[in-house]
Symmetry: C2
Subunit: 184 residues, 2 copies
């Protein structure tokens, strides 16, 4: 029942945005009574932060399986596609709604900022692992950070229109940049 509520929450954020998402709409969509919803998540904030956190983690577990399928040749470019998927997925759109709402809502920001830092650290560690580099060497740390910032910017650019062709060309060039700049 918790899971159904969290999945319905992310669906609502993706389709209706922050202001269109309410605990009532989520309960209806999940087919869960108001009483049960309030028992699991006493407020919109608890529901939304819990949902984004949970689904971000589930997504990362699913992606961990893809590591084994990475090719030896063209690995960097393949890694960029795996990472880019995180920033063009429904969970990214849901997190974006939460993030932007938190900017002007101090209570929500207090709940979202630690989640964002934790997800940021984990994604950074995951990117290091996929790219198979030591962040202590050369400019590796900053290049991996730049990669994630780039992907976040591309994710934002892809919210209004289909930006996939341009994104692919940018990531082609970025893969060359990484293979040149990363110290292995």
């Amino acid at each position: 029942m918790r899971l159904r509520l969290m999945e319905a929450t992310v669906e609502c954020l993706v389709e209706l945005g922050w202001s269109g998402t309410s605990t009532t709409v989520v309960s209806q969509r999940a087919g869960v009574s108001r009483g049960a919803q309030l028992h699991h998540f006493p407020s919109k904030q608890a529901l939304v932060v819990g949902a984004v956190e949970h689904l971000t983690e589930r997504r990362r577990h699913a992606m961990a399986d893809t590591v084994r399928t990475l090719p030896d040749v063209g690995r960097t470019r393949a890694v960029l596609d795996v990472l880019a998927e995180q920033f063009t997925s429904p969970v990214f759109f849901a997190a974006l709604e939460l993030w932007v709402a938190a900017r002007t809502d101090p209570d929500l920001r207090e709940a979202v900022a630690p989640l964002e830092r934790r997800v940021g650290r984990e994604t950074h560690a995951y990117a290091l692992e996929l790219l198979d580099v030591d962040e202590q060497r050369g400019r590796n740390r900053e290049l991996v950070q730049a990669t994630l910032d780039l992907l976040r910017g591309l994710g934002l650019a892809g919210t209004l229109t289909d930006d996939s062709r341009r994104r692919a060309a940018v990531l082609d060039a970025w893969a060359v940049t990484l293979d040149t700049g990363l110290e292995r």
Copy 2:
């Protein structure tokens, strides 16, 4: 009076977000009667799109003056600071509110998407000019696009917490990458 309304609109978007911004709140803040406001901007959508468009342009004109102050040594890094300012300014936050609201509002998206494309093209041309490169050569085009996507991602990362130290380190590394990768 138009200008006062547009400036008040951007202030409201920055402080109160999309859902907290209404034509009533903007009129009050601008000290303009409802009738006059409706005469200049018949809807919230017209007001908000007009305001973000106008202030984006004004900002760009202001920045054009900075081109003359760029140093010869360390020019690339200085250019990144000039561009980064665009993505950490109040106008960026206002545009972000508009952009995210437009994702789930088809009418608003129809008004915002052309504005976004135009601003994107102009910013790209401006970046080429500042970096003083020909986009037909090598991977220049993609590297400049990546630069703007990176800055957009850094801008988004800076909305919840003060991210300026990390941003400076990422841009230091990126300046080295650009000086290596751009064909001049």
